[in-house]
């Protein structure tokens, strides 16, 4: 544990200058450029979605400015995450995990927590910013599970049942807290991420099958015994019969689909979408931001965004496959599962094929914590890749 945080020096240290050249040369540029492109595209969408809201205030660009500050901070955090020493990260994972779980409790403290759209998942910060601790919890859970599941003995080909149980316990604690926060969307994403990490760790197939079955049964039981409140059920199921009524749940779904469908092949053009500019789609700068690209840039713009997401997922999967140790692979697959499932859930709900739950579109939606957490995730993917390259260089 010698050396500074962002130091790759070790037994066979490479000269500093060579390290720098190595970093920039071996970076996964396709991944970085795709992430930057999505972020830039997203900023344009946030601008379009927010300018009519902000028109009442003096500066219609104020929301965009706030978003751009968050983007800069996020990219900087991603850079740090890509350069942090792998082993240091692993050593500090328990502390990161504990801090993350404790911070999940912050929204419950009166005067600190903020309730948005029925979920008590935010912390007020000065300057009109808010913090959503559950976003950072996703990173902590991935790191913690990767750490637990990769400590198996070398001769074992799969993690022991004890390790799997420990990992499931580590995932269950934050999941329970987030469930109490009423943040269904994050619970679903985090559940899928945990399942992925356990599966990729090589755990016995019965674990994987058992967990999938358990999740399905759990959801059904929750609905049956009324653990989920009626409006939650409505919200989750309104996508099945959206036109049946015009209450808020299916109203959102309807308006979102009118916006996207109306976009047609090439869309109305930036700032020209009637649904977007008329504020018919709720929270279209964050959770429903995909309606903006759908309406204003049409099928061409939407497909481009989906394809850019595809590039990120592809690069992430390649990094996971090529990772030189299990820890790296687990981190990379956890990140890919997180970004992939969350993107599918977010876009799917605006298209009416997934239930409406409040998760942001990674790298696109306005919302500081999500943006920062996603860039840290991109940084971690680069970190795993660079680690492998360095090890290969050392021979």
């Amino acid at each position: 544990m010698s050396g500074s945080i962002i130091d790759v020096s070790s037994r066979t240290a490479l000269p500093g200058r060579q390290r720098g050249i190595l970093y920039w040369r071996e970076l996964d540029w396709l991944l970085l450029v795709s992430a930057l492109a999505i972020t830039a595209f997203g900023s344009l969408l946030v601008w379009s979605a927010s300018r009519s809201d902000m028109a009442a205030a003096n500066d219609p660009q104020s929301y965009l400015k706030k978003h751009l500050i968050v983007v800069v901070v996020g990219v900087a955090l991603g850079f740090l995450a890509s350069r942090v020493d792998y082993r240091w990260l692993r050593a500090y994972t328990p502390i990161i995990y504990i801090v993350a779980v404790l911070s999940l409790l912050l929204p419950f403290i009166p005067g600190v927590g903020a309730r948005i759209a029925g979920a008590r998942a935010w912390v007020d910060l000065p300057g009109g910013f808010t913090l959503q601790p559950s976003e950072f919890a996703k990173i902590a859970v991935i790191l913690m599970l990767a750490s637990i599941l990769s400590t198996k003995q070398d001769f074992e080909d799969q993690p022991s049942d004890r390790d799997v149980l420990a990992a499931l316990g580590a995932a269950a604690l934050p999941l329970a807290i987030i469930l109490v926060q009423n943040d269904t969307g994050t619970v679903l994403v985090l559940g899928a991420v945990s399942l992925t990490v356990v599966a990729v760790s090589g755990a016995r197939t019965r674990w994987v099958v058992g967990l999938i079955g358990g999740a399905v049964v759990g959801i059904l039981v929750a609905i049956q015994v009324g653990l989920l409140k009626q409006y939650q059920v409505d919200r989750l199921t309104s996508f099945i019969h959206p036109s049946a009524n015009t209450d808020t749940a299916s109203y959102n779904a309807n308006q979102a689909r009118i916006a996207i469908g109306g976009g047609g092949l090439h869309g109305y053009g930036l700032f020209e979408g009637p649904q977007t500019q008329g504020k018919f789609v709720p929270v279209n700068e964050s959770d429903f931001i995909f309606t903006v690209v759908g309406e204003e840039f049409g099928f061409i713009g939407s497909a481009l965004l989906v394809l850019l997401i595809g590039v990120i997922l592809w690069r992430g999967l390649v990094i996971a496959l090529k990772a030189d140790d299990l820890y790296g692979r687990l981190v990379a697959s956890g990140v890919v599962a997180w970004l992939g499932f969350q993107m599918f859930e977010n876009i799917g709900m605006t298209l009416g094929i997934m239930p409406i739950t409040g998760v942001p579109l990674p790298l696109v939606s306005a919302g500081g914590t999500s943006m920062m957490a996603c860039w840290i995730a991109i940084g971690l993917l680069e970190n795993v890749r660079l680690h492998g390259k360095r090890e290969a260089l050392r021979g």
Partner: protein, 711 residues
């Protein structure tokens, strides 16, 4: 790492990419396959506005008295969208509402119909506004009825009662001033078209009332202010999705006019008396106008037109029938600024100035025979009276036509006579134009007439315009008229033959007629007032002005409007001073003597000129009385005219005298400025004060003009 781990990464990849493919497929379906349906849905999803017009600004007189104000009226409105959700499209609610309001259900039904739809009545009954705007179905509802409706909300879904502001006319001293104030009416198609596709929140909307005449029109945007607009998002099923923007109203600003209500009331009363005077002589006396201006700045202190109308008739909208009746009465246009009349002898001041400019001696003697004959036509003096050889001043006093015929004849010959080029000198017309005749005075009221100045150039231009008709008629010989009256047809045909052949020529007789304000010359009474004001102030032609300031609804001065000088009359100084020396003589010992008998002319000398203008056809002459006073230190110019009213002296003169008595506080032969109709004896220099709550500070006591409460 085991193979199983690697397999599971691959499975994850396959799973994620099939999810992405699902998204793309769904996008393709929504946007390409069914896109058009959603596009249609998006378009019926729209933004709706709830608009309440701002309270319109008041119009004050120069002393702060409101001439136009607002009162509140309880308006019952119906939200059609809510109504249509009720059983039977809300027929029961409408029936209940009709009973409560004491009207028939079909009356309310008519109000709820969109204009232009089947079975809809004509505006203002049908609804011209936006679909989502609550529709007013009853105005001036008493408070008790309104409360009954509001207290039983469940009985009256979609019905609300709201206070709204409507125009009211306080009429201090029973003043009318309809032609100055103007009236409001619904916005016209033309106005809506002119603003194009404006999306400004303060654009005109179909339900808006706008000024359609007078000050209400001229200063419409100032008075109107900006409406409060709440913009709502409304989805396809008429559900309000949220408030998109909310703009508060910006109340209209107040106009401070140069009009003095008390003086205006006197002028209106005296105009009616002049009309009655004409009628008591057995003359038609069918219309008239009177103007009082401040000669030092062009402020119009009073301006009246007869016939007039009650401005409050427009409140709440007029029906087609009412409008036709108003049009037929010819009371809508202002004779003071829109009427065109031959000025007659009042024009002689211009001929005099032109003669001076041409070098004729102002002090020489001129022959005043009872008639002159030129080219076979006889031109007479009024009543064919001969005065012998008289001074030019005396010629003005007794209004000797033949002296001016002589001057005009000489000038015509000098310019080249019958063969003079179109551009040859035409001094009388040139001076008339310098005094602002033949062009708009620029008063801040809409619809002003330009007028005409009879001249060589005008005749040529007129011929070019009309020669085709004349020549055609000369050939055709009026076949229609000939069937009933061949003699008249012969006369017309001969006339048109002559006109066709050489109607462009400026003949000797034309020049002579022009010099005494006859022929093609036509002026508005206001133009004539500005001529006499310019003489009075030594040759400065002001732009007449009705509004001297704009004050915000909370009392801040927005604009103090300064007088505007149109130009300087370019005639020898001696000519103006000659007129100023001579015109008091008209009142003292000339044609203006009789109406001013007994008036304290030593204290307040009055400069005047009478006019008895001939009118073509078998109409009686127009009575004119033009004047300014005090002649030694001029302050006011007063003009009055009555069509088919007889002589200027007999019909208009006494009324002009009464106006001066009111202005200067003359009682019999004594002058008491404290008895003047103007507070302090003169027009106020400063703008009246408006309190922060929007009420103007008005004069007290006998100057208040507030009507005894009569309801």
């Amino acid at each position: 790492m085991t193979d199983q781990s690697t397999h599971r990464v691959v499975i994850l990849g396959v799973l994620l990419f099939s999810l992405l493919a699902t998204l793309l497929g769904r996008l393709f379906y929504l946007q390409i396959v069914t896109g058009d349906e959603y596009r249609a849905a998006a378009e019926s999803n729209s933004v709706r506005e709830i608009v309440h017009p701002a309270v319109r600004g008041l119009i004050l007189d120069q002393a702060g008295r409101p001439l136009v104000s607002n009162r509140t009226s309880m308006v019952v409105e119906v939200d059609r969208v809510t109504l249509e959700r009720e059983p039977n499209d809300g027929a029961d609610v409408v029936a209940r509402l009709a009973r409560t309001l004491g009207v028939s259900a079909s009356d309310i039904g008519d109000r709820l119909k969109n204009c232009g739809t089947e079975g809809a009545k004509a505006p203002p009954i049908c609804w011209n506004g936006a679909q989502f705007q609550p529709i007013p179905v009853a105005t001036d509802v008493d408070t008790e009825t309104a409360l009954a409706i509001m207290e039983q909300r469940n009985q009256f879904p979609g019905v609300t009662a709201r206070l709204s502001a409507v125009r009211t006319y306080p009429q201090p001293f029973n003043v009318n001033a309809a032609h100055i104030l103007g009236y409001l009416g619904p916005v016209t198609e033309q106005m809506l078209e002119d603003q194009g596709d404006s999306t400004e929140y303060d654009r005109l909307r179909r339900t808006d009332q706008v000024g359609r005449s007078g000050l209400e029109k001229q200063y419409d945007t100032v008075l109107r202010g900006k409406p409060s607009v709440t913009t709502l998002g409304v989805d396809t099923s008429n559900h309000v999705t949220g408030t998109i923007s909310d703009k508060p109203a910006d109340p209209g600003e107040y106009l401070v006019t140069t009009i003095d209500a008390k003086l205006q009331a006197v002028v209106e009363e005296q105009l009616v008396k002049a009309i009655q005077r004409a009628q008591s002589q057995g003359l038609p006396g069918d219309s008239g106008a009177a103007v009082v201006v401040d000669v030092r700045n062009g402020h119009v202190l009073a301006m009246a037109s007869y016939p007039t109308y009650d401005p409050s008739i427009w409140v709440g909208g007029v029906t087609k029938k009412q409008f036709q009746r108003l049009m037929a009465s010819e009371s809508l246009s202002s004779n003071a600024i829109q009427g065109l009349f031959a000025p007659g002898s009042t024009y002689k001041v211009i001929s005099t100035a032109a003669a001076a400019k041409e070098g004729f001696s102002l002090n020489a003697k001129y022959d005043c025979p009872n008639q002159v004959t030129v080219g076979g036509n006889t031109f007479r003096n009024h009543e064919s009276k001969a005065y012998g050889s008289i001074s030019l001043a005396r010629a003005l006093e007794v209004s000797c036509n033949t002296v001016f015929y002589g001057l005009a004849d000489d000038m015509w010959k000098r310019a080249g006579g019958i063969d003079a080029a179109r551009t040859a000198a035409d001094p009388v017309a040139e001076v008339a134009k310098m005094f602002g005749l033949g062009s708009k005075s620029g008063i801040d009221l809409p619809g002003e007439s330009t007028g005409r100045v009879s001249s060589r150039d005008f005749k040529a231009a007129n011929w070019e315009n009309k020669k085709d008709d004349w020549c055609r008629n000369a050939i055709e010989g009026y076949p229609q008229t000939r069937k009933t009256d061949p003699k008249l047809a012969d006369y017309f045909t001969a006339l048109d033959k002559e006109n066709c052949a050489d109607g462009f020529r400026w003949r000797e007789g034309d020049a002579m007629n022009a010099a005494i304000g006859q022929g093609d010359t036509a002026v508005t009474p206001l133009q004539m007032a500005m001529v006499y004001a310019a003489i009075a102030n030594g040759g400065t032609l002001y732009q007449p002005q009705v509004v001297k300031g704009i004050v915000s609804g909370d009392g801040k001065v927005v604009e103090d409007i300064a007088p505007v000088v149109r130009g300087k009359v370019d005639v020898p100084k001696s000519a103006i001073s000659f007129l100023k020396r001579s015109l008091p003589g008209v009142t003292k010992e000339g044609t203006g003597r009789i109406p001013f008998a007994g008036f304290p002319l030593d204290e307040i000398p009055i400069a005047s000129k009478t006019g008895t203008a001939q009118v073509t056809g078998d109409k009686v002459s127009t009575s004119w009385f033009a004047s300014y006073a005090p002649a030694n230190n001029p302050r006011y110019a007063v003009i009055m005219m009555v069509t088919q009213g007889g002589t200027g002296s007999e019909t208009s003169g006494p009324s002009v005298r009464a106006i001066y008595e009111a202005l200067f506080g003359v009682r019999g032969t004594t002058v008491d400025p404290s008895k003047s109709v103007l507070v302090g004896g003169v027009p106020k220099k400063s703008l009246p004060v408006v309190r922060p709550d929007g009420t103007p500070v008005t004069p007290e006591g006998k100057y208040s003009g507030v009507k005894a409460s009569s309801g």
